[in-house]
Symmetry: C2
C-alpha cells in the first residue's frame, strides 16, 4: 500500500512537472484561415499545435464552405458576414459552371475578372464585418496572443495582425502576381519564373518569354485592382497610410506549400519554409467499405477520380462522356460524385459521395488518379507515386497540370473539349505506359527523401515565432531601402557622374594643353613668318 | 543450450539482414577536403558518414597543416606536392606575421595580394600534381564513387569531379567575390549585401554603398586574377574550354556554414543548405586537468583565449601586453599559447598548448571568450552564449568581428594597435556589462532553436546526392540562359522596338491626316480666296 502510495505520488509529481513544463512552453495562437481547400492542410497544423498544449483560437465567418464552426481541438470564434450560406454555395457553383464552359482566352479572362470581383466584393465586406465587430476585436485585444497564424490569400488577417501588433506566420500555396515574393523582398527573374495562366514552364522560348513579361504586367494590373481594395480598407481601419507590400512584408515566416520536386526551383528567402506535401501526412487505414471495393478490383487495381473538395457535380452530358470512358478500362473506378447517376455507368465504376483520397492513393492497387490538379491532389499523387490524368478547372490548376505533364508524370486533358476517347486513351497511357509510373516514382522519391517532415517543420516555425515574438534575424535589410537604393541606382548615377566629370576635366585639360601648344606653335610660326618677312 | 543456439541464430540472422540493409543503403564517397581550420568541421561530417556505413576515401596532400594522413574511420589516399612541410609552416608564419604588422589599407591590400599569390602558386601546383598523378586518377576512376564531397575554396576538387563526371556536394563558409552565389545563379543585391573587407553591415549609408560597389569591382578583379589560374588548369586538364562559373555551377548541393542568427539574411537558392554552427556538435566532458583549472576559478569563472588552430605564437611585446591585461581581471584565463612564457604573466593566467575550446565555452563558468573571430570560434561562442572580445587577424575574420559587434555581443580590438588597457577594458565590459551577455543569449537562443541539427542536415544531403546521383530538381533553369536572356534584355528591347514602331506609325498616320486636313483647308482657303478675288 505504501509502495502504491509512493508510486501515485511519483506519478502526480511527474504530471505536475509535466504540466508546468507544458505551461512554460505553451503559448496562445490566433488563427485566421481561408475557407475551401486552403483550410484542409492548414487544419492539420492547427490541430497539431493544439495537441502540443498551445491555446488556439480560430476566427472564421459564420457561413463557410468546408470549415466547421466548432472543434474539439481549439476554440472557434465566428463573426457575422453579409451573405447567406446559399449565396456562398451559389458563387461556387457559378465558378464551376464557368470552368466547364468552352470559352476562348479573352472570354476566360473577362469571366475570371467577373468571378474575382464578385469574390472580392463578398470577402472584403466579410472582412469589414470582422474588423468592425467591436466585441470580437476587444476579445482579441485582451487575449494577449503570441502570434497570428493565417492564410493571407485574402489579406484580412494581415490587417488585423497589424492592428493587434502581433508577429505573423503565413501559410499559403502562393499569392497572385508574386505578391508574396515581392513582399518578402525576394528577387524573381521573369526570364525563368513562369507567370500564372501562361502555360509556360521554367524553360521558355523567346516568344514564351515575351508572353511571360506581358502577362506579368497584366497580372500586376489585375491583382492590384482587386487587392487595392484591401489597401483602402487597411488605411481606413488602421487610420494611417499603409501599402499592401508593407502589410504582407511584415511576415515573420512564410510557410509555402511548394516543393521543388514539383515546383520549379527559383531564388527564395531565409524566412520562407517550403512544406509542399504537408497534406499527405494524415494517413488512416481504409474503412471496411472502401477496403472491400479496392480488394474486389483484382489484379487490375483501381482508378481514383475526384474533382476536389469544392466540385462534386458536373453537367450530365460531360458525366456520360466520362462514364463511357471508364467502361473501356478493366480497372475499378472510384468516382467522387454527388450528381445524378449517368445512365451509361459501367459496372466497374462506383460513385461515392466522399472518398479518402490520400488513403486510396496510398493503396498498392492504385493505378491512376484523375484529378482537377488542385495542389493538394497533385501532392497526394506525388507522395503516393500514382500517375495522373489532369483535368484543370480554375485557379492555379492549369499551371499545376502543366508542371506534372512537363515532368512526364501525367496527361492533361481539357475537360470542356475532351471526348470519351481522349479520356480513355489518357487513362490507358498513364496505366500501361511504364514511363509515367517511372517518372512519378522518381518525383516521389525526390519529394519524400527529406530531413524532416513538412508538418513538423510547419509546427516548429509557428512555435518559433510564438516563442521569440517573430523572427527578426531572418528579415533582410532590403525592407529598409527604397526602390532606387535597392537597385543601387543612386550609387551608379553618382559613380557615372564622377567618371563623366573626370573625363570632362581630362578632356578640358587636354584641349587647354593642345590650345597652348597650338598657340605657342602659332605664335612661333607667326614670329618665324614675321622674321622671314 | 538449444535456447542459446536459437538465440544466436536469431542474432546472426538479424546481423545478416542488417548488413544487407546497410549494403543496400550505403554508398561510396570521394572526399576532397581543404587543409587548416576548414577541415575541422568537415571532418565531423565525413566521420559520421563513415560511421553510417558508407565507404569513404579522402584524398589529401602528403604535407598538411592540421589534416592527419591516416584515420580509423576512412581510407586516406595522399598525393605528392611540390613543397615541404617546412615551407608550408613558413607560409603560415609569414601570414600571421603580416597580420600582426601595423599596415595601412593599401599596404594591407598589397600584402594580401602577395600572400594570396604565394598560396595560389603553391596550391595550384599541388593540384597539378594530383590531377597528373596517373596511378591515383586511375584508382579514382575505377572506384565507382557515387559523389564527391569537397571544400571548394581552392577549386581542385571541382576539376576532378568534372573529370570523373560525379555529382558534387560542396562544404564551405563562402567563396571570395560571391563566386558561390554567382555560380548557383543566386541574385545578390549589392545594396544590402556587404562586400568582404569593407567593414560594412547590411545597413549601409550612401557612402558605404558606394564603397561596397567599388569593393565588389575590385574583389572581382582580384579574385578572377587568382582563380583564373584554376580555369586555365581546368581547360588544359579537361581538354575543353570551361569557365570557373560553369565548374562551380555544377554543384548539386552547397552546404554553407552560415546561420542567419549571425550572418545577414539575403536571397538564397533551393540547393543551398545552411549549417552554421555545425562545429558545436562535438561535445565531450572536460578532462580532469581542465576540470580542475575551471573549478579553481571560483565564483569569478574563466576566460578562454585562443587565436585559432593556425596561430599559437605571437611576438613577445604583444604577448606581454596581453599578459598584463589579464592581470587586471579576477577571472582565471586559459590561454592557448605555445610561445615563450611572458615574464609578467599573472597568477590567474594558465598557458596551455591546446585547449578543448567548445567544451570550455560550454561550461557554466565561462565568462568571456577572446577569439581571432574565425567562423568556427565565433559559432562556438554563439552556441554556448559566451560574450566575446574579438581580435581579427586575416581572411573573413574582420567581417565576422564586425557582425558580432553590430549585434552587441562582443567588442572588437585591433590586435596591432591595442594597448593593455584596451584589452582589460574590453574584457571588463563583456563580463560585467549585462547587455553583452543578454545579446549573446538572444542570438544563441535564435541559433539553437532549429528543427534539425546542422550535422544531421549535412549528412542527409550528402546521402541524398549519393542516392539520387545529384539533385537535378533543385537546379534552376537560369543555368540554361545567357546573361542577356537572364535579364530579359532581348525581350525588353523587342517590346520597346514594338512600342516605338507603333508610336512611329501612329505619329506618321497623325501627320498624314493633319497634312491631308491642312491641304484640304489650304485648298479650301485658296479656293475661297480665289473666289473672293
Amino acid at each position: 500500500m505504501a509502495r502504491l502510495n509512493s508510486r501515485s505520488q511519483l506519478v502526480a509529481g511527474l504530471a505536475f512537472w509535466f504540466s508546468l513544463w507544458l505551461c512554460a512552453e505553451s503559448g496562445k495562437l490566433l488563427v485566421m484561415p481561408q475557407d475551401g481547400s486552403h483550410w484542409l492542410s492548414m487544419q492539420v497544423v492547427v490541430e497539431k499545435l493544439a495537441q502540443k498544449g498551445h491555446e488556439v483560437v480560430v476566427v472564421m465567418p459564420e457561413n463557410t464552405l468546408v470549415m466547421q464552426t466548432s472543434s474539439e481541438h481549439f476554440t472557434v470564434r465566428t463573426h457575422s458576414v453579409p451573405y447567406t450560406q446559399e449565396k456562398l454555395n451559389e458563387l461556387l457553383s457559378s465558378m464551376t459552371e464557368h470552368a466547364l464552359k468552352n470559352l476562348n482566352f479573352l472570354e476566360n479572362m473577362v469571366q475570371m475578372y467577373i468571378n474575382i470581383s464578385q469574390v472580392t466584393t463578398m470577402f472584403i465586406s466579410a472582412c469589414r464585418h470582422l474588423l468592425y465587430d467591436k466585441e470580437l476585436i476587444q476579445f482579441l485585444q485582451q487575449s494577449d496572443f503570441d502570434a497570428v497564424f493565417s492564410d493571407p490569400v485574402l489579406p484580412c488577417a494581415p490587417i488585423l495582425a497589424e492592428y493587434l501588433s502581433l508577429p505573423r506566420v503565413y501559410f499559403l500555396r502562393g499569392l497572385p502576381c508574386h505578391l508574396d515574393f515581392q513582399a518578402a523582398q525576394c528577387p524573381s527573374p521573369i526570364s525563368y519564373i513562369p507567370e500564372a495562366f501562361t502555360n509556360n514552364s521554367d524553360h521558355m522560348t523567346f516568344t514564351e518569354r515575351v508572353k511571360n513579361v506581358l502577362m506579368s504586367i497584366l497580372a500586376s494590373l489585375y491583382c492590384y485592382s482587386y487587392y487595392g481594395k484591401y489597401e483602402h480598407l487597411a488605411t481606413e481601419f488602421l487610420q494611417r497610410k499603409i501599402t499592401l507590400l508593407e502589410l504582407f512584408g511584415k511576415a515573420s515566416i512564410w510557410l509555402i506549400r511548394q516543393d521543388f520536386a514539383f515546383d520549379y526551383p527559383r531564388p527564395v528567402m531565409p524566412n520562407m519554409v517550403f512544406i509542399g506535401g504537408i497534406n499527405c501526412a494524415q494517413k488512416k487505414p481504409l474503412s471496411k467499405e472502401f477496403e472491400a471495393m479496392v480488394n474486389s478490383s483484382g489484379e487490375h487495381g483501381i482508378v481514383v477520380f475526384s474533382l476536389g473538395s469544392m466540385v462534386s457535380e458536373i453537367p450530365m452530358k460531360k458525366a456520360m462522356e466520362i462514364a463511357e470512358a471508364f467502361g473501356t478500362i478493366p480497372q475499378t473506378v472510384l468516382w467522387r460524385y454527388t450528381g445524378e447517376t449517368p445512365p451509361n455507368l459501367a459496372k466497374n465504376t462506383k460513385l461515392v459521395k466522399w472518398l479518402p483520397q490520400n488513403d486510396l492513393l496510398a493503396h498498392p492497387k492504385a493505378r491512376a488518379f484523375i484529378t482537377h490538379a488542385g495542389s493538394h491532389g497533385v501532392y497526394e499523387g506525388i507522395c503516393n507515386a500514382v500517375p495522373m490524368v489532369l483535368m484543370p478547372l480554375f485557379g492555379d490548376q492549369m499551371d499545376n497540370a502543366k508542371r506534372m505533364e512537363s515532368r512526364g508524370a501525367g496527361v492533361t486533358l481539357n475537360v470542356v473539349e475532351m471526348t470519351s476517347k481522349d479520356l480513355s486513351d489518357a487513362l490507358k497511357a498513364v496505366i500501361y505506359d511504364k514511363k509515367y509510373k517511372e517518372n512519378i516514382q522518381r518525383l516521389s522519391a525526390l519529394h519524400l527523401d527529406r530531413p524532416i517532415e513538412p508538418l513538423d517543420l510547419a509546427v516548429h516555425w509557428v512555435e518559433f515565432v510564438m516563442k521569440h515574438k517573430g523572427a527578426p534575424h531572418l528579415r533582410p535589410a532590403a525592407h529598409d531601402l527604397n526602390w532606387i537604393q535597392y537597385h543601387s541606382i543612386d550609387v551608379i548615377a553618382f559613380l557615372l557622374a564622377v567618371v563623366l566629370l573626370a573625363l570632362f576635366i581630362s578632356l578640358k585639360c587636354c584641349l587647354f594643353c593642345c590650345r597652348k601648344c597650338c598657340c605657342k606653335s602659332g605664335r612661333m610660326s607667326k614670329k618665324s613668318k614675321s622674321k622671314s618677312h
